[in-house]
């Protein structure tokens, strides 16, 4: 009973904050409501005893992705009025995409594919079972190739992102520590002897 009450509390917070993300006027507030939405969905995952996924969601999305997102949103000076002008025009398209997504999700969940294939939840396996251990076993045995392919793709993406930003020759006047530490006194300081001025 208490677990249900907690679930409904977090579910209500999740739905409310998700709705506020797209309706609130201030973009910084919208980003912060998105943080709240991530946080409450992590709480719901905790109720499902998927503690690894819940903590990873907080660590990755709340702790890193949203911080950088907030960083950018705060630096921008967005005027939202022109963005809202096309609301009525794009509404049918938006509803169509949303319906399509709902149907796709319903088909996946209703297929029963997820129930049969995966081991029982950690809670059913006993309180001492570690979620992290189970995930690790699954990832490094049954799903080793998909996992490594995903890792390789991510690595390529990282290198590509760096390559895209470093395309231009380096013209910025950033100080180079390796040059700074080899500088010697003779190169920088010149002692000049001169006569004192006469009064």
């Amino acid at each position: 009973m208490i677990v249900q009450a907690i679930f409904y509390f977090f579910a209500a917070v999740l739905v409310l904050s998700a709705a506020l993300v797209i309706t609130v006027r201030n973009p910084v507030h919208a980003a912060l409501f998105l943080v709240l939405a991530f946080f409450s969905s992590a709480a719901i995952w905790l109720l499902l005893e998927a503690e690894f996924l819940a903590i990873a969601l907080v660590l990755v999305y709340v702790g890193a992705v949203m911080v950088l997102f907030l960083f950018v949103v705060m630096m921008l000076d967005i005027n939202l009025a022109p963005l809202r002008e096309g609301f009525a025009r794009y509404l049918p398209l938006g509803i169509a995409v949303a319906l399509l997504m709902a149907v796709a999700m319903g088909l996946v969940v209703a297929s029963g594919y997820f129930d049969a294939r995966f081991p029982p939840r950690a809670g059913e396996a006993g309180p001492a079972a570690s979620n992290t251990l189970e995930l690790g076993h699954a990832m490094y045995t049954d799903f080793l190739y998909p996992f490594e392919i995903a890792g390789a793709i991510l690595l390529v993406a990282i290198i590509a992102a760096i390559a895209l930003t470093m395309r231009k020759p380096r013209t910025l006047k950033t100080p180079r520590p390796e040059k700074q530490i080899v500088a010697r006194r003779e190169e920088r300081v010149r002692l000049v002897k001169m006569e004192a001025e006469k009064r």
């Binding site: 690894f52 709340v62 992290t132």
Partner: protein, 352 residues
Amino acid sequence: MFEFLRIYVFTPLAGALVPPAVEMNVVYTLDILAKIVVILVPLVLSVAYLSLAERKIIGWMQVRRGPNRVTFFGIPWLRGWGQPIADVFKLIFKEIIVPSGADKRLFIIAPILSLAPSIAAWAVIPFDDGMALADINAGLLYILALTSLAVYGIIIAGWASNSKYAFLGAMRSVAQIVAYEIAMGFALVGVLVAAGSLNLGDIVRAQSGSVLHWFWIPLLPLFGVYFISGVAETNRAPFDVAEGESEIVAGFHVEYGGMGFSLFFLAEYANMILISALASILFWGGWLSPLQGIPVLGESSLIWLLAKTSFFLFLFLWFRATFPRYRYDQIMRLGWKVFLPITIVWIGGGGK
């Protein structure tokens, strides 16, 4: 002590006040609340006295006396010991000023958001064998997740203040924290590879033995990276550019006074204590005694954890008295180009 409370206080209390269907739940909740109080009150007291210790120790290092006016209940040889209490009263009774043009709700939420994660992280710290509020499997992950949340207090404070100084301070601080969090996380990956567990209690038990069995020997570079990143994470000197008083007055908390400021202050010091406690748990054997084999001193106990934590706290203060402030681009260089490769190489070499 908790046994006593549960049997003689909570159970009769719950039996008298609530229906029997939820009695066990209420007893359980009261039990947890009692444990929270037992952790939180010493924590807040040590934050108060850490501020005194900081002023005294830095004072002695600079050949002056530090605070020496406010006595403790008028006892003459405890000069200065009343200072934290006087500071607390001063800060509580100051007016809270919200700057015009500030985002009022976020301005008030920000200090709370910065304090809450640094206190919540204490839930999984094991003080002795099995003596943790929540002895969870993914303890180390939980710590990482919560320490990464502390950024929000700073970034929201900087933005909501509607002040350029505060905003610049917040930007500096957030970039620095995000950068060092990665090096710190990788250093902790080395620890969990060595211990084979994410549970903090198991990590300490994996180190059991004399000083030579503790993780500081096999993971020495990771320990260095972890502790220096910890200093950078808490925005302490020599990495305290977030509040570089010569350029941006006081960084993200310029606009805060009274209780708002003191919450940021509490969060910073609670984080320092947390980093020190974690350094001693993860690398220096937690509650284990360094004097194995000697009758009384060789027994592992809470006192050893506290002693190790105090030593690391002293290091924090020593750094502040000793090192000049880093330049900002060098801070970023150290985090990304020095610490990150060290940790990755050491994890690659150290994996079993």
